[in-house]
Symmetry: C2
Protein backbone atom coordinates (compact mmCIF):
# COMPACT_ATOMS: atom_id res chain seq x y z
CA UNK A 1 0.00 0.00 0.00
CA UNK A 2 1.35 3.42 -0.87
CA UNK A 3 1.94 5.99 1.84
CA UNK A 4 -0.03 9.19 2.10
CA UNK A 5 1.20 12.75 2.34
CA UNK A 6 -0.63 16.01 2.97
CA UNK A 7 0.90 18.73 0.78
CA UNK A 8 0.39 22.36 1.75
CA UNK A 9 -0.49 23.73 -1.65
CA UNK A 10 -0.80 27.47 -2.15
CA UNK A 11 -1.27 27.32 -5.90
CA UNK A 12 2.13 28.95 -6.45
CA UNK A 13 5.13 27.52 -8.33
CA UNK A 14 6.93 25.86 -5.45
CA UNK A 15 4.02 23.95 -3.96
CA UNK A 16 2.73 23.08 -7.46
CA UNK A 17 6.07 21.43 -8.14
CA UNK A 18 6.03 19.77 -4.72
CA UNK A 19 2.55 18.37 -5.32
CA UNK A 20 3.72 16.72 -8.53
CA UNK A 21 6.92 15.48 -6.94
CA UNK A 22 4.79 13.68 -4.31
CA UNK A 23 2.78 11.96 -7.03
CA UNK A 24 5.95 11.11 -8.95
CA UNK A 25 7.36 9.52 -5.78
CA UNK A 26 4.29 7.31 -5.48
CA UNK A 27 2.52 8.92 -2.54
CA UNK A 28 -1.22 9.13 -2.22
CA UNK A 29 -1.58 12.92 -2.11
CA UNK A 30 -4.00 15.08 -0.14
CA UNK A 31 -3.73 18.81 -0.88
CA UNK A 32 -4.61 21.53 1.61
CA UNK A 33 -4.82 25.26 0.90
CA UNK A 34 -5.41 28.18 3.23
CA UNK A 35 -7.46 31.27 2.63
CA UNK A 36 -6.27 33.81 5.18
CA UNK A 37 -7.45 36.84 3.27
CA UNK A 38 -4.29 37.15 1.16
CA UNK A 39 -4.56 39.43 -1.82
CA UNK A 40 -3.30 36.81 -4.26
CA UNK A 41 -6.49 34.73 -3.93
CA UNK A 42 -5.94 33.79 -7.56
CA UNK A 43 -3.38 31.32 -6.22
CA UNK A 44 -6.25 29.48 -4.53
CA UNK A 45 -8.29 29.42 -7.73
CA UNK A 46 -5.30 27.92 -9.52
CA UNK A 47 -4.86 25.34 -6.74
CA UNK A 48 -8.49 24.26 -6.94
CA UNK A 49 -8.39 23.91 -10.73
CA UNK A 50 -5.22 21.81 -10.69
CA UNK A 51 -6.55 19.41 -8.04
CA UNK A 52 -9.86 19.03 -9.82
CA UNK A 53 -8.11 18.26 -13.11
CA UNK A 54 -5.69 15.80 -11.49
CA UNK A 55 -8.24 14.12 -9.20
CA UNK A 56 -6.34 15.08 -6.05
CA UNK A 57 -8.47 15.39 -2.89
CA UNK A 58 -8.23 19.07 -1.93
CA UNK A 59 -9.40 21.09 1.04
CA UNK A 60 -9.36 24.88 1.27
CA UNK A 61 -9.45 26.04 4.87
CA UNK A 62 -11.02 29.42 5.53
CA UNK A 63 -8.92 31.26 8.09
CA UNK A 64 -10.75 34.57 7.66
CA UNK A 65 -12.03 34.19 11.23
CA UNK A 66 -8.48 34.78 12.44
CA UNK A 67 -8.90 38.37 11.32
CA UNK A 68 -6.72 40.76 13.24
CA UNK A 69 -4.64 37.94 14.74
CA UNK A 70 -2.73 37.77 11.48
CA UNK A 71 -2.68 41.49 10.90
CA UNK A 72 0.42 43.61 10.62
CA UNK A 73 1.26 42.18 7.19
CA UNK A 74 1.19 43.62 3.72
CA UNK A 75 -0.23 40.30 2.47
CA UNK A 76 -3.54 40.95 4.17
CA UNK A 77 -3.55 44.69 4.95
CA UNK A 78 -4.07 47.70 2.77
CA UNK A 79 -0.42 48.75 2.83
CA UNK A 80 1.25 48.65 -0.61
CA UNK A 81 3.05 45.49 -1.70
CA UNK A 82 6.82 46.15 -1.90
CA UNK A 83 8.21 46.07 -5.42
CA UNK A 84 11.50 44.70 -6.71
CA UNK A 85 13.76 42.05 -5.22
CA UNK A 86 12.89 40.27 -2.03
CA UNK A 87 15.08 42.10 0.38
CA UNK A 88 15.24 41.91 4.11
CA UNK A 89 13.58 45.23 4.91
CA UNK A 90 10.72 45.17 2.46
CA UNK A 91 10.05 41.48 2.96
CA UNK A 92 9.60 41.81 6.69
CA UNK A 93 6.46 43.77 5.77
CA UNK A 94 4.98 40.64 4.17
CA UNK A 95 5.42 38.41 7.22
CA UNK A 96 2.27 36.98 8.81
CA UNK A 97 3.12 36.25 12.45
CA UNK A 98 3.81 32.55 12.97
CA UNK A 99 2.22 31.67 9.66
CA UNK A 100 4.00 28.46 8.80
CA UNK A 101 3.51 27.01 12.27
CA UNK A 102 -0.20 27.77 12.05
CA UNK A 103 -0.49 26.18 8.61
CA UNK A 104 1.62 23.15 9.60
CA UNK A 105 -0.40 22.58 12.76
CA UNK A 106 -3.63 22.55 10.74
CA UNK A 107 -2.14 20.37 8.01
CA UNK A 108 -0.95 17.95 10.69
CA UNK A 109 -4.46 17.79 12.16
CA UNK A 110 -5.72 17.05 8.66
CA UNK A 111 -3.05 14.36 8.22
CA UNK A 112 -4.31 12.62 11.35
CA UNK A 113 -7.88 12.84 10.06
CA UNK A 114 -7.08 11.32 6.65
CA UNK A 115 -4.49 8.85 7.93
CA UNK A 116 -1.43 10.41 6.28
CA UNK A 117 1.88 9.97 8.07
CA UNK A 118 3.62 13.08 6.74
CA UNK A 119 3.12 16.71 5.80
CA UNK A 120 5.12 18.43 3.06
CA UNK A 121 5.50 22.14 2.62
CA UNK A 122 7.39 24.17 0.10
CA UNK A 123 9.87 26.20 2.18
CA UNK A 124 13.00 26.62 0.08
CA UNK A 125 16.53 27.97 0.14
CA UNK A 126 15.60 31.39 -1.09
CA UNK A 127 13.46 31.98 1.98
CA UNK A 128 16.04 31.13 4.64
CA UNK A 129 17.58 34.53 5.17
CA UNK A 130 14.18 36.13 5.39
CA UNK A 131 11.60 34.07 7.20
CA UNK A 132 12.49 32.37 10.49
CA UNK A 133 9.77 29.80 9.79
CA UNK A 134 11.43 28.73 6.52
CA UNK A 135 14.76 27.79 8.16
CA UNK A 136 15.98 24.22 8.65
CA UNK A 137 15.99 24.71 12.41
CA UNK A 138 12.28 25.51 12.39
CA UNK A 139 11.43 22.53 10.20
CA UNK A 140 13.37 20.17 12.49
CA UNK A 141 11.64 21.44 15.60
CA UNK A 142 8.18 21.30 14.04
CA UNK A 143 8.90 17.77 12.87
CA UNK A 144 9.86 16.80 16.42
CA UNK A 145 6.67 18.33 17.82
CA UNK A 146 4.38 16.77 15.20
CA UNK A 147 5.78 13.32 15.89
CA UNK A 148 4.55 13.45 19.50
CA UNK A 149 1.45 15.64 19.31
CA UNK A 150 -1.02 12.88 18.45
CA UNK A 151 -1.43 9.13 18.86
CA UNK A 152 -0.37 8.91 15.21
CA UNK A 153 3.12 10.37 14.62
CA UNK A 154 3.25 12.81 11.70
CA UNK A 155 6.53 13.79 10.03
CA UNK A 156 7.06 17.31 8.72
CA UNK A 157 9.27 17.60 5.67
CA UNK A 158 10.31 20.47 3.42
CA UNK A 159 11.84 18.61 0.46
CA UNK A 160 12.98 21.86 -1.23
CA UNK A 161 14.67 23.30 1.81
CA UNK A 162 18.12 23.10 0.22
CA UNK A 163 16.98 24.34 -3.21
CA UNK A 164 16.39 27.82 -4.54
CA UNK A 165 13.55 28.79 -6.83
CA UNK A 166 15.63 28.22 -9.97
CA UNK A 167 16.44 24.66 -8.90
CA UNK A 168 12.81 23.94 -8.03
CA UNK A 169 11.77 25.15 -11.47
CA UNK A 170 14.46 22.93 -12.95
CA UNK A 171 12.87 19.91 -11.27
CA UNK A 172 9.41 20.93 -12.48
CA UNK A 173 10.52 21.49 -16.05
CA UNK A 174 12.15 18.05 -15.99
CA UNK A 175 8.77 16.63 -14.95
CA UNK A 176 7.19 18.48 -17.88
CA UNK A 177 4.95 20.62 -15.67
CA UNK A 178 2.83 23.38 -17.16
CA UNK A 179 3.42 26.50 -15.06
CA UNK A 180 0.53 28.35 -16.66
CA UNK A 181 -1.48 26.43 -14.05
CA UNK A 182 0.18 28.38 -11.22
CA UNK A 183 -0.10 31.89 -9.85
CA UNK A 184 2.61 33.80 -8.00
CA UNK A 185 1.91 37.55 -8.17
CA UNK A 186 1.10 39.27 -4.87
CA UNK A 187 -1.30 41.60 -6.71
CA UNK A 188 -4.49 39.80 -7.67
CA UNK A 189 -5.12 41.51 -11.02
CA UNK A 190 -5.98 39.92 -14.39
CA UNK A 191 -2.35 39.56 -15.47
CA UNK A 192 0.63 39.17 -13.15
CA UNK A 193 2.13 42.59 -12.35
CA UNK A 194 5.70 41.58 -13.20
CA UNK A 195 7.09 44.06 -10.67
CA UNK A 196 6.48 42.66 -7.15
CA UNK A 197 9.23 40.61 -5.48
CA UNK A 198 7.35 37.43 -6.18
CA UNK A 199 7.00 38.12 -9.93
CA UNK A 200 10.60 39.26 -10.27
CA UNK A 201 11.94 36.12 -8.61
CA UNK A 202 9.75 33.95 -10.82
CA UNK A 203 10.76 35.74 -14.02
CA UNK A 204 14.42 35.43 -13.06
CA UNK A 205 14.06 31.69 -12.55
CA UNK A 206 12.52 31.24 -15.99
CA UNK A 207 15.11 33.53 -17.57
CA UNK A 208 17.85 31.41 -15.98
CA UNK A 209 16.53 28.34 -17.79
CA UNK A 210 16.04 30.23 -21.06
CA UNK A 211 12.33 29.35 -20.91
CA UNK A 212 9.47 31.82 -21.37
CA UNK A 213 7.07 31.94 -18.42
CA UNK A 214 3.67 30.94 -19.89
CA UNK A 215 1.76 33.35 -17.60
CA UNK A 216 0.44 36.68 -18.92
CA UNK A 217 2.25 39.69 -17.39
CA UNK A 218 1.53 43.40 -17.37
CA UNK A 219 5.24 43.93 -17.76
CA UNK A 220 8.22 41.58 -17.49
CA UNK A 221 10.54 43.63 -15.35
CA UNK A 222 13.68 41.65 -14.49
CA UNK A 223 16.12 44.06 -12.82
CA UNK A 224 19.85 43.80 -13.55
CA UNK A 225 21.47 41.24 -11.29
Amino acid sequence: MSQSVVVIYSGGMDSFTLLHRARRDGYRVHAISFDYGQRHVRELTAARAVCEREGIPHRTVDLAGLGGLLSGSALTDDTPVPEGHYEEDTMKATVVPNRNMILLSLATGYAVTVGADRVWFGAHGGDHAIYPDCRPEFVEKMDAACRVANYEPVQVEAPYLALDKTEILSEGLAMGLDYSQTWTCYNGREAACGRCGSCVERLEAFAHHGVSDPLPYETRHVPEA
Copy 2:
Protein backbone atom coordinates in the same frame (compact mmCIF):
# COMPACT_ATOMS: atom_id res chain seq x y z
CA MET B 1 8.38 47.14 32.85
CA SER B 2 6.38 43.99 33.48
CA GLN B 3 6.48 41.10 31.02
CA SER B 4 3.50 40.03 28.98
CA VAL B 5 1.95 36.61 28.64
CA VAL B 6 -0.77 35.31 26.36
CA VAL B 7 -2.96 32.88 28.32
CA ILE B 8 -5.06 30.36 26.43
CA TYR B 9 -8.28 30.76 28.35
CA SER B 10 -11.17 28.39 27.69
CA GLY B 11 -13.36 29.68 30.49
CA GLY B 12 -12.94 26.42 32.41
CA MET B 13 -11.47 25.92 35.88
CA ASP B 14 -7.87 25.26 34.96
CA SER B 15 -7.32 28.19 32.62
CA PHE B 16 -9.35 30.49 34.91
CA THR B 17 -6.90 29.65 37.69
CA LEU B 18 -3.96 30.06 35.31
CA LEU B 19 -5.18 33.49 34.22
CA HIS B 20 -5.27 34.67 37.81
CA ARG B 21 -1.90 33.10 38.57
CA ALA B 22 -0.41 35.16 35.72
CA ARG B 23 -1.81 38.35 37.22
CA ARG B 24 -0.65 37.35 40.69
CA ASP B 25 2.85 36.82 39.29
CA GLY B 26 2.86 40.35 37.87
CA TYR B 27 2.48 39.65 34.16
CA ARG B 28 0.56 41.86 31.83
CA VAL B 29 -2.04 39.35 30.64
CA HIS B 30 -3.66 38.91 27.23
CA ALA B 31 -6.33 36.24 27.10
CA ILE B 32 -7.21 34.27 23.99
CA SER B 33 -10.15 31.88 23.56
CA PHE B 34 -11.08 29.62 20.68
CA ASP B 35 -14.50 28.87 19.31
CA TYR B 36 -14.14 25.66 17.33
CA GLY B 37 -17.77 24.70 17.51
CA GLN B 38 -17.49 22.93 20.84
CA ARG B 39 -20.74 22.18 22.57
CA HIS B 40 -19.74 23.81 25.82
CA VAL B 41 -19.85 27.30 24.31
CA ARG B 42 -20.93 28.47 27.76
CA GLU B 43 -17.25 28.26 28.65
CA LEU B 44 -16.62 31.07 26.16
CA THR B 45 -19.40 33.19 27.62
CA ALA B 46 -17.84 32.74 31.05
CA ALA B 47 -14.39 33.66 29.65
CA ARG B 48 -15.69 36.85 28.09
CA ALA B 49 -17.50 37.93 31.27
CA VAL B 50 -14.43 37.37 33.45
CA CYS B 51 -12.10 39.33 31.16
CA GLU B 52 -14.56 42.19 30.90
CA ARG B 53 -14.95 42.39 34.66
CA GLU B 54 -11.19 42.20 35.25
CA GLY B 55 -10.18 44.52 32.42
CA ILE B 56 -8.08 41.84 30.70
CA PRO B 57 -7.69 42.26 26.92
CA HIS B 58 -9.44 39.24 25.43
CA ARG B 59 -9.75 37.83 21.93
CA THR B 60 -12.06 35.03 20.86
CA VAL B 61 -10.90 33.40 17.66
CA ASP B 62 -13.56 31.84 15.47
CA LEU B 63 -12.27 28.54 14.14
CA ALA B 64 -15.61 27.43 12.71
CA GLY B 65 -14.06 27.70 9.23
CA LEU B 66 -11.93 24.67 10.05
CA GLY B 67 -15.12 22.63 9.88
CA GLY B 68 -14.47 19.03 8.98
CA LEU B 69 -10.74 19.36 9.59
CA LEU B 70 -11.42 19.00 13.28
CA SER B 71 -14.17 16.43 12.89
CA GLY B 72 -14.10 12.96 14.33
CA SER B 73 -14.56 14.25 17.85
CA ALA B 74 -17.44 14.06 20.29
CA LEU B 75 -16.70 17.66 21.29
CA THR B 76 -17.95 18.95 17.99
CA ASP B 77 -19.99 16.11 16.50
CA ASP B 78 -23.43 14.80 17.29
CA THR B 79 -22.18 11.65 18.98
CA PRO B 80 -23.13 11.46 22.67
CA VAL B 81 -20.70 12.82 25.27
CA PRO B 82 -19.28 9.92 27.31
CA GLU B 83 -20.40 9.91 30.93
CA GLY B 84 -18.50 9.04 34.10
CA HIS B 85 -14.77 9.12 34.75
CA TYR B 86 -12.31 10.24 32.15
CA GLU B 87 -11.03 6.92 31.01
CA GLU B 88 -8.79 6.05 28.13
CA ASP B 89 -11.40 4.56 25.82
CA THR B 90 -14.18 7.05 26.22
CA MET B 91 -11.84 10.02 26.27
CA LYS B 92 -10.25 9.16 22.97
CA ALA B 93 -13.65 10.02 21.51
CA THR B 94 -13.26 13.62 22.69
CA VAL B 95 -9.92 14.22 21.01
CA VAL B 96 -9.76 16.93 18.34
CA PRO B 97 -6.83 16.05 16.05
CA ASN B 98 -3.77 18.15 16.90
CA ARG B 99 -5.85 20.57 18.90
CA ASN B 100 -3.28 21.93 21.32
CA MET B 101 -0.70 22.49 18.60
CA ILE B 102 -3.26 24.42 16.57
CA LEU B 103 -4.26 26.56 19.55
CA LEU B 104 -0.64 27.14 20.61
CA SER B 105 0.42 28.12 17.10
CA LEU B 106 -2.36 30.72 16.95
CA ALA B 107 -1.66 31.97 20.47
CA THR B 108 2.02 32.30 19.55
CA GLY B 109 1.09 34.35 16.48
CA TYR B 110 -1.01 36.53 18.76
CA ALA B 111 1.90 36.85 21.22
CA VAL B 112 4.10 38.18 18.41
CA THR B 113 1.37 40.66 17.45
CA VAL B 114 0.92 42.04 20.97
CA GLY B 115 4.59 41.82 21.96
CA ALA B 116 4.26 39.08 24.58
CA ASP B 117 7.27 36.81 25.07
CA ARG B 118 5.42 33.75 26.36
CA VAL B 119 2.27 31.68 25.99
CA TRP B 120 0.71 29.80 28.88
CA PHE B 121 -1.77 26.98 28.57
CA GLY B 122 -3.49 24.87 31.15
CA ALA B 123 -2.39 21.30 30.37
CA HIS B 124 -2.18 19.45 33.67
CA GLY B 125 -1.18 16.16 35.25
CA GLY B 126 -4.59 14.59 34.92
CA ASP B 127 -4.39 14.84 31.15
CA HIS B 128 -1.02 13.14 30.64
CA ALA B 129 -2.13 9.57 30.24
CA ILE B 130 -4.83 10.55 27.80
CA TYR B 131 -3.86 13.31 25.43
CA PRO B 132 -0.48 13.19 23.69
CA ASP B 133 -0.60 16.98 23.37
CA CYS B 134 -0.83 17.43 27.15
CA ARG B 135 2.41 15.55 27.88
CA PRO B 136 5.67 17.21 29.01
CA GLU B 137 7.41 15.97 25.86
CA PHE B 138 4.93 17.82 23.67
CA VAL B 139 5.23 21.05 25.66
CA GLU B 140 9.05 20.93 25.44
CA LYS B 141 9.01 20.41 21.70
CA MET B 142 6.44 23.14 21.07
CA ASP B 143 8.47 25.48 23.24
CA ALA B 144 11.56 24.72 21.16
CA ALA B 145 9.66 25.38 17.91
CA CYS B 146 8.03 28.61 19.13
CA ARG B 147 11.40 30.02 20.17
CA VAL B 148 12.66 29.88 16.56
CA ALA B 149 9.49 30.36 14.49
CA ASN B 150 9.54 34.17 14.46
CA TYR B 151 12.00 37.04 14.78
CA GLU B 152 10.71 37.37 18.35
CA PRO B 153 11.24 34.17 20.41
CA VAL B 154 8.12 33.02 22.25
CA GLN B 155 8.28 30.57 25.14
CA VAL B 156 5.54 28.00 25.66
CA GLU B 157 4.84 27.06 29.26
CA ALA B 158 2.27 24.84 30.95
CA PRO B 159 2.65 25.88 34.60
CA TYR B 160 0.23 23.20 35.82
CA LEU B 161 1.82 20.33 33.97
CA ALA B 162 2.89 18.61 37.20
CA LEU B 163 -0.39 19.27 39.04
CA ASP B 164 -3.71 17.46 38.96
CA LYS B 165 -7.08 19.16 39.03
CA THR B 166 -7.34 18.96 42.81
CA GLU B 167 -4.00 20.73 43.22
CA ILE B 168 -4.95 23.42 40.70
CA LEU B 169 -8.17 24.03 42.61
CA SER B 170 -6.12 24.23 45.79
CA GLU B 171 -4.06 27.04 44.29
CA GLY B 172 -7.18 28.85 43.12
CA LEU B 173 -8.94 28.57 46.48
CA ALA B 174 -5.79 29.96 48.12
CA MET B 175 -6.07 32.95 45.77
CA GLY B 176 -9.70 33.34 46.84
CA LEU B 177 -11.06 32.73 43.32
CA ASP B 178 -14.79 32.50 42.72
CA TYR B 179 -15.37 29.37 40.62
CA SER B 180 -18.97 30.30 39.90
CA GLN B 181 -17.33 32.39 37.13
CA THR B 182 -16.19 29.23 35.31
CA TRP B 183 -17.90 26.56 33.23
CA THR B 184 -16.72 22.99 32.79
CA CYS B 185 -19.62 20.78 31.67
CA TYR B 186 -19.38 19.32 28.16
CA ASN B 187 -23.16 19.62 27.79
CA GLY B 188 -24.19 23.24 27.24
CA ARG B 189 -27.45 23.20 29.20
CA GLU B 190 -28.70 25.70 31.80
CA ALA B 191 -27.17 23.85 34.74
CA ALA B 192 -24.08 21.63 34.60
CA CYS B 193 -25.08 18.00 33.97
CA GLY B 194 -23.04 16.60 36.85
CA ARG B 195 -22.53 13.33 35.00
CA CYS B 196 -20.02 13.90 32.17
CA GLY B 197 -16.33 13.18 32.80
CA SER B 198 -15.64 16.87 33.08
CA CYS B 199 -18.31 17.47 35.75
CA VAL B 200 -17.36 14.37 37.72
CA GLU B 201 -13.70 15.36 37.86
CA ARG B 202 -14.63 18.87 38.94
CA LEU B 203 -17.01 17.69 41.64
CA GLU B 204 -14.38 15.30 42.94
CA ALA B 205 -11.83 18.10 43.20
CA PHE B 206 -14.23 20.26 45.23
CA ALA B 207 -15.23 17.29 47.39
CA HIS B 208 -11.55 16.62 48.10
CA HIS B 209 -11.23 20.11 49.57
CA GLY B 210 -14.51 19.85 51.47
CA VAL B 211 -15.79 22.86 49.53
CA SER B 212 -19.14 23.07 47.74
CA ASP B 213 -18.88 23.87 44.04
CA PRO B 214 -20.79 27.16 43.61
CA LEU B 215 -22.12 26.13 40.14
CA PRO B 216 -25.71 24.92 39.72
CA TYR B 217 -25.89 21.20 38.78
CA GLU B 218 -28.69 18.99 37.48
CA THR B 219 -27.29 16.28 39.72
CA ARG B 220 -24.06 15.96 41.68
CA HIS B 221 -23.01 12.47 40.75
CA VAL B 222 -19.62 11.67 42.28
CA PRO B 223 -19.02 7.95 41.76
CA GLU B 224 -17.36 5.89 44.48
CA ALA B 225 -13.57 6.09 44.16
